[in-house]
């Protein structure tokens, strides 16, 4: 059984999930003490969830790959999940690794290895769909590694550089 603290927008819910789907395909979930039967289109990865059925209520949905938000027909809700048992929250920022926030083409490289950068300083330009996107240093430090070169095509979440 899992015990989670789920925050949707600004509302907190204590959620308990026990076991596997029953014969009808529902999983028993207790939210703030209330029992619900929940079915989702995929139990594998968030981004594969396309619909859910909670008791008798169907939802069309899109779930962020990193589970930062859930989009239903009405709009986008922010999500935070904390595992109360593992007692480990999702790690917060501070990491110096840069990954590609979108797929694209590296249209400018503004740093080199060993260079000192300030937090907020532009380090790369990534071109996608006729727009240039500035990638900035998430923290001050030294460029430890630089894994891309000018003109290179990068995929989503590809590791670009590290600042430490």
């Amino acid at each position: 059984m899992s015990k989670l603290l789920v925050t949707i927008d600004d509302t907190e819910f204590e959620v308990q999930v026990s076991g596997q789907p029953d014969a009808d395909g529902f999983i028993a979930v207790v939210v703030n003490g209330e029992s619900l039967r929940v079915a989702v289109s995929s139990l594998a990865a968030p981004e594969q969830i396309e619909w859910a059925l909670v008791d008798t209520r169907p939802y069309e949905m899109i779930v962020d790959h990193d589970l930062r938000w859930i989009q239903s027909a009405l709009g986008r809700h922010s999500v935070q999940v904390r595992d109360l048992e593992a007692n480990v929250a999702r790690p917060v920022s501070g990491d110096g690794r840069l990954k590609a926030p979108i797929p694209g083409i590296i249209s400018r490289v503004l740093i080199e290895i060993g260079q000192r950068v300030e937090a907020g300083q532009p380090v790369l330009l990534l071109e996608a769909m006729k727009m240039e996107n500035e990638i900035i240093a998430p923290r001050a430090g030294t460029v430890l590694s630089l894994n891309v070169r000018l003109g290179q095509t990068v995929i989503l979440h590809e590791f670009l550089a590290e600042i430490g």
């Binding site: 899992s2 989670l4 789920v6 949707i8 927008d9 509302t11 819910f13 959620v15 999930v17 999983i27 989702v40 995929s42 139990l43 990865a45 968030p46 981004e47 594969q48 396309e50 859910a52 909670v54 209520r57 939802y59 069309e60 949905m61 779930v63 589970l67 938000w69 859930i70 239903s72 009405l74 709009g75 986008r76 809700h77 999500v79 999940v81 595992d83 999702r90 790690p91 917060v92 920022s93 690794r97 840069l98 926030p101 979108i102 797929p103 694209g104 083409i105 532009p122 071109e127 769909m129 006729k130 727009m131 240039e132 996107n133 500035e134 990638i135 900035i136 998430p138 095509t153 989503l156």
Partner: protein, 493 residues
């Protein structure tokens, strides 16, 4: 009629033109860049030719060379750069190939937007107030002075080209030069011309468009009007027809003026005459768009006329198939652009593979798109991948269907603006039909959506979390999936 037509474009507009050619039994040839080989416009064409130029779809010389080599009767450039390239139009005319468009002379004239306004104004028509001339991006002092004369707010617009690209609103003097720089660099990229001009604007106002058909024989008709006030960075997001809340008298006056302008410049084919409508009922001519537009789907839904077919007929020299009386404007239609972008993340573009794709259906719903499940939205092109339009006998019926169709449209694998479009369609100002160009999407993005079902979503989030934790563990160390994405990017507006 033409026997063989070359489509000089890609994406949904190329697919759109291919469809009409096939409907007419016209052989249709298309072009493709190496990475676009399996694109839908290629799959559906009769013939497909590889573009070897590094400029690809933008290389007018290679396009003309292919057209000559394979002996087509006509070229349809869709919209975008090639459709607004008088040199290309003239070269085609000299080669004896019809170009779907207004003709090179008319094109040259209407692309000089400051000049057009001057001429229209000289004919006694109320216009927007442009700067006295165009400016290069480095003429800072002259720009600041001219802007002070015009007054704020004002628009910075690209001197060439009729697309939204390069058009930006400036509310205060402090923003002027930065905006000019952005506008100018966009104009340089899209039109090879970095000059901009300024235009005085009254806020709030509405953006009213009148689609026009004109033939080689001097016949001009209007196909009603549309409201394009809801824009993002001056690109239209949602459009409806007819424009809500106009008196029949005002509507007909605007149509009349639009016809007068189209006739003045002999704009053949399909075009749109656009106006700023102020709250006191003053309507000011703004510009002429001498080509098919995304927004023409709304007009097609009202009139049931295939506008691309009319373009081909007109270019082939046929007189219009419709008199003004034949055009029946029934009911109401609403359209939106569906883009691969994330409105909640500063409109970050989101190319990638479409893993799930389900179109809305039912009566009076139409989607034109070049993507399908398993296809790719490429990194290199525009983020627009689908146009949704619905029709209803009344605005209310149309609105309900629009909301429903938006809820039904499912895309997975890339981020889209569908969530935002759903919010726009349910926004009180839009529902009431009383919006202006000041319609704000910001509050929509910032306010969490109403939901009595947060508890249910929490249950789903919990299952997603557990599934993700299970799936993620074997492949990726936890540290690797965390932290990096927060604040690690910033976008140039």
């Amino acid at each position: 009629m033409f026997k063989r037509v070359l489509v000089a474009n890609r994406g949904e507009i190329a697919v759109r033109i291919v469809r009409t050619c096939r409907d007419l039994g016209v052989t249709v040839a298309v072009l493709y860049e190496p990475g676009d080989m399996g694109a839908l416009h290629v799959r559906l064409a009769d013939e497909a030719y590889l573009l070897s130029s590094p400029h690809g779809y933008r290389d007018s010389d290679e396009i003309l060379a292919v057209a000559k080599r394979i002996s087509v009767d006509a070229i349809h450039p869709g919209y975008g750069r090639i459709s607004e390239h008088p040199g290309f139009a003239r070269a085609c005319e000299e080669a004896g190939i019809a170009v779907i468009g207004p003709g090179s002379t008319a094109l040259e004239q209407v692309l000089d937007k400051v000049g057009v306004i001057a001429q229209v104004r000289a004919a006694g028509i109320t216009t927007t107030q442009p700067s006295t001339r165009s400016f290069g991006p480095d003429e800072s002092d002259a720009l600041v002075a001219e802007a002070a004369t015009l007054g704020y707010p004002l628009l910075v617009k690209a001197s060439s080209g009729g697309r939204g690209r390069g058009t930006h609103l400036v509310r205060e003097p402090a923003q002027l030069l930065d905006t000019v720089r952005r506008s100018s660099s966009a104009a340089q990229a899209v039109y090879d011309d970095n000059r901009v001009y300024l235009e005085s604007v009254t806020l709030p106002s509405r953006y009213i468009e009148v689609p026009i058909l004109g033939d080689h024989h001097g016949n001009f008709i209007t196909l009603g009007d549309r409201d394009g006030s809801i824009q993002h960075n001056t690109r239209k997001v949602v459009e409806e027809a007819p424009a809500p809340g106009l008196s029949q008298e005002l509507r007909e006056a605007i149509w009349g003026t639009a016809l007068q302008v189209a006739r003045m410049f002999h704009v053949r084919g399909v075009s749109t005459v656009e106006f700023a409508l102020e709250q006191d009922g003053t309507y000011r001519f703004a510009e002429v768009k001498p080509r098919v537009q995304v927004e023409h789907m709304v007009t097609e839904m009202l009139t049931r006329i295939d506008i691309v077919r009319e373009q081909l007929y007109i270019a082939a020299g046929k007189p219009l198939s419709y008199t003004q009386d034949d055009v029946r404007l029934r009911g109401h239609a609403m359209l939106c652009r569906v883009n691969a972008e994330d409105p909640w993340h500063e409109y970050l573009p989101s190319p990638g593979r479409i893993t799930g794709f389900r179109l809305p259906g039912g009566p009076n719903v139409r989607v034109d798109t070049y993507v399908y499940a398993g296809s790719e939205i490429p990194v290199r092109y525009d983020s627009l991948f689908a146009k949704l339009v619905v029709w209803g006998a009344t605005r209310e019926e149309c609105l309900n269907r629009f909301q429903r169709a938006l809820q039904e449209f499912q895309v997975n694998g890339v981020q889209t603006n569908l969530g935002l479009l759903r919010m726009i369609a349910s926004d009180a100002a839009f529902v009431a039909g009383v919006y202006t160009t000041e319609f704000s999407r910001h509050h929509l993005l910032k306010t969490p959506p109403p939901s009595e079902n947060l508890r249910d979503l929490a249950a789903v989030a919990a299952l997603a979390f557990i599934g993700r934790t299970r799936a993620a563990r074997p492949v990726t160390p936890t540290a690797f999936t965390s932290g990096w994405h927060r604040d690690s990017r910033r976008l140039p507006q």
